[in-house]
Symmetry: C2
Subunit: 575 residues, 2 copies
């Protein structure tokens, strides 16, 4: 028997659900409404459209076979009826109708439904500061705004920009402005680090240092307090607590909030932070109303808590589940790990699962193993170091998360994806040690970086590896008085160690090459704590094991070695 | 209490076990013997050394910190004693001794052990044909042979080469010879396809066509029957059953066999095909003797059968497990999926798990979903098609394997690795549909190719998608008489369909664009079987669903569409 379905929102989750459902139930009448005129676009592509990598906005609305996904497309190709420029105003749950208004004519009508889907998405958070409405101030809200930003830049109207918000979109926009348009760009982030909650502080710090090298000015722990008027209603600067930055373009990318008023007004269960609550079949508290995409609260697979995960990729997966369930094929969306990846100029940063900080806050017996392996066989041309971190629970040995920072290629994708696959199945350190990453020298090492990092985690659980916190180490480099009993034991080649010995002094920096330790360890004095130091941490661990066995030395390993330190403090050797 | 350990074989599994054990039990005396002078090398890097990508062979023997791993290195840095040029002759299990002979002096001695490890590796299979011992005929047996091959080429002594064996090493060697040295190279494979057992026939065929475009001559179902003497003891040609190929260099890469005579002579349990049998802790039938690497039989995680998996990556993982168990830390090696990846010029081919053919032979209710998605967001510059196939069991919905063929980058690595992670955990089609691949346009699509392929598999299980076998379709293109009732329904843009209609005739090739189907389907006659055809198969599936709903049409989808057909038959349009 044919049923009527109304879908509110036509960007990602909505169209996916509508089209899937129409394939499963070709008889059903499906109507999708959206307040915008442009629908079904790849919002994540906006920074690449602004940069010019994607020349035309219509490409973000096209199928892979180059047909624009507009209302006609859905009507003719998918059999789904679409009302654009149409806002859903209210739901009458007992009558099972949605009141919608045509934004051009003002006409209102009642759409009856058997099933309703809310795919209302999220809206950019507007900073409540003076000047937020000035000309030249944009949120990355939709394609219209993106088109306007690009026009301004292309017309040569932008020479200095400030991006407020150091999340993924803010960083991508900063890259787009700097790299392809040569706009002098400053990036402001209120939190003490870029990519808050997505990566741990040290990963954010490596990225920040790199962005600075690429001529992006970055201010963390700093927020905009006022946007300045040039006297003609256009923005001319950004006042922060600490300085004033000139700007003829300001982009606000301070995050998004679920658009859930329609749900709340209809009496559906909505989390205090705004996410519409759904069960695993993505039904709201009214079983005839489903919700998916950026407007819902989803289950975090690691913590079991409800979480906000506004991602186009998840919206699509969720949309399909809604289509299945409405059609009567039970299907579940179990939850999210929180996989994340981004390009930043010629670097890539990615993560999945919990950060170390989040894992500690959640009450896990959290720790992390940090390594600096090559991203493919170390003898293969073009190989480069990646900084890789596995977050795990020492008690259960469950892996909780993975983070990586390295060159812009797909090698981090491979590690993040494999990790997400295992974490979603409750994978342990042992599973990560055994996972069979495909091996050939152009792609990986015989012992894949993910295996090696798991080995390290295991050695930490067994108390074979004792590490020093890199923050404490960096502070000590600045001020030796902090830890008067520390001495670095640099096991690198003497030519690599020499500049450090010269800079920090022989009383603080001792060189004894890795291959010499077994013969010459007696030269070491035993009343100091040796911070063992090499390029990546691997040799340091071996030396620690050996000195522990000798039994008369206190040792700690600086995991990540120079590869980590030089990325955290590019000027640590005074360059 | 200190124990004595002897390790036979010092390439991959042996050194890994020895060094791991020494770290866990620093007191123990560990002696590693190897009949070669060169040890601990990355054998998988040999083709890249021959090609010149890796300039010096010593790089294959170096650590990531550029120290050569020779006997001194193991002695000084690892605390492991190494005897090179030393062959293990016999094991006395009751006396717990190994007899070894120094190949330079001829001296023999007995090495006592508490634990013994066999890491004797594999030897290249020598084709038993006339001429196999001629000068200029090489197996890729070890670094010495590789050095000799490269010297010959570099000295300009090689203008025509024949590589016998179309497995990964054979193909990599053919690339090395052709691409970097301009040697005219022919590749011979006895089986009807390249990469037998690693990928299904159609994947091998796409690779073969590509290799031919790169000027490698490829003969499948053809084997060498004689190597020809130039009259001076050097090879000058290869006689096959069908032709004679000129050659001044012949490389035999026809696979390897476990080197297990030592184990068999000692009365250990050895599989009829030569693999030393071990339990999950990698103990042989004598609990004091462990074995790992290319000489053992391992468990296939999907079939539960014992299998041969000679890979440096597995050898290293296994070696670590041996070290753990000898040290008294119980540790298991559960088995292998069979992950595989390789570079071939500017293409990449990879797989994990079972091929479709193998899955059928194992008695699974096997089927496969084949798609042709872009390798990242379809609007992102540089995106390219990848051909992706998921092999699954229709009854249990368990995923059995994945194969991919696409451009040379790490994107296939990411899909193969994530698939291997899930398959090793018993992942189902549903798990593949939900796996949270990290999304950003430079790396992936909002619906990742792996998710999309799983969706397709699900649609096949539910009998929503009926596909036509591409082999049958290709045969029919050649001879329409084979299936007189077939008509192609080409739903691509009319400009794309037109050349096919012209070539094959309007009676065989009907164009009706995807977006027109719902309006014009009544123009279709219903007594034909429509083979629905597009670029990738996605639109075809949607059209099938619609026509099935109408109810008066017989339809089949050509999965992979033109993307598949043009790679299987580059000249199908007569180019």
């Amino acid at each position: 028997m044919s049923k009527k379905v109304v879908v509110v929102g036509a960007v990602a989750a909505g169209p996916k659900a509508a089209c899937r459902l129409k394939r499963l139930r070709p008889d059903w009448e499906i109507t999708m409404v959206d307040q915008d005129s442009l629908i079904s676009y790849g919002g994540c592509g906006i920074p690449y459209y602004v940069s010019g990598d994607v020349p035309d906005e219509s490409e973000l609305r096209e199928t892979s076979f180059h047909v624009v996904r507009d209302a006609d497309f859905f009507e003719n190709s998918k059999g789904v009826h679409v009302l654009t420029r149409t806002r859903a105003l209210a739901i009458d749950r007992s009558a099972k109708t949605v009141t919608v208004r045509n934004l051009d004519t003002g006409d209102e009508e009642q759409l009856p439904y058997d099933y309703l889907m809310l795919a209302t998405g999220a809206r950019p958070f507007d900073l409540p500061i003076p000047g937020a409405k000035l000309d030249g101030v944009f949120a990355i809200a939709d394609l219209h705004k993106a088109i306007e930003i690009k026009q301004r830049i292309a017309q040569g109207k932008v020479s200095r920009a400030v991006v407020i918000g150091g999340g993924a979109i803010g960083i991508e926009m900063a890259e787009a402005l700097t790299d392809l348009w040569g706009v002098e760009t400053a990036l402001l982030e209120l939190a003490p680090q870029l990519l808050p909650k997505l990566v741990d502080r040290h990963f954010a710090e490596m990225l920040k240092n790199y962005l600075v090298e690429q001529n992006v000015t970055v201010f963390t722990s700093e927020s905009a307090v006022e946007l300045l008027d040039d006297g003609h209603g256009s923005v001319c600067g950004v006042k922060t607590g600490k300085r004033t930055l000139e700007a003829d373009l300001v982009i606000m990318a301070v995050g998004v909030r679920p658009r859930s008023e329609l749900a709340r007004d209809a009496g559906l269960d909505v989390a205090p932070w705004g996410g519409i609550r759904v069960n695993q079949r993505l039904q709201t508290s009214d079983p005839f109303i489903y919700a998916a995409g950026d407007c819902v609260a989803v289950n975090n697979l690691i913590t079991g808590r409800e979480t906000f995960a506004p991602m186009g990729s998840l919206a699509n997966r969720e949309g399909r589940v809604v289509g299945d369930n409405m059609a009567g094929y039970p299907s579940v969306f179990k939850g999210v790990c929180g996989s994340f990846i981004m390009k930043a100029f010629e670097r890539c940063i990615g993560s999945t699962g919990l950060t170390y900080e989040a894992a500690v806050a959640e009450g896990f017996a959290a720790d992390y193993a940090l390594t600096a392996p090559p991203d493919r066989a170390h003898f293969f041309p073009g190989q480069a170091v990646v900084i890789l971190q596995l977050v795990f629970d020492r008690r259960s040995r469950r892996v909780l998360g993975l983070q990586a920072f390295g060159m812009m290629n797909d090698s981090i994708s491979a590690r993040v994806d494999a990790a997400a696959a295992l974490i979603s199945q409750g994978g342990t350190i042992e599973d990560f040690g055994l996972v069979e990453m495909a091996y050939a020298p152009p792609f990986s090492s015989a012992i894949d970086s993910i295996n090696a990092t798991a080995y390290m985690a295991e050695n930490m659980c067994e108390n074979r590896l004792h590490r020093v916190d890199h923050d404490r180490f960096l502070a000590w480099l600045e001020d030796e008085g902090l830890e008067p009993d520390w001495v670095v034991l640099d096991v690198r080649h003497p030519l690599e160690a020499a500049p450090c010995i010269e800079k920090f002094g022989a009383h603080r920096w001792r060189g004894l090459e890795y291959g010499e330790i077994r013969r010459r360890y007696k030269e070491l004095v035993s009343d100091k704590t040796y911070i063992i130091f090499c390029n990546a941490g691997t040799r340091s661990y071996e030396v620690q094991i050996f000195l522990d066995h000798i039994g008369s030395f206190k040792t700690m390993v600086l995991c990540g070695g120079t590869n980590l330190i030089s990325r955290l403090k590019p000027d640590w050797m005074g360059e």
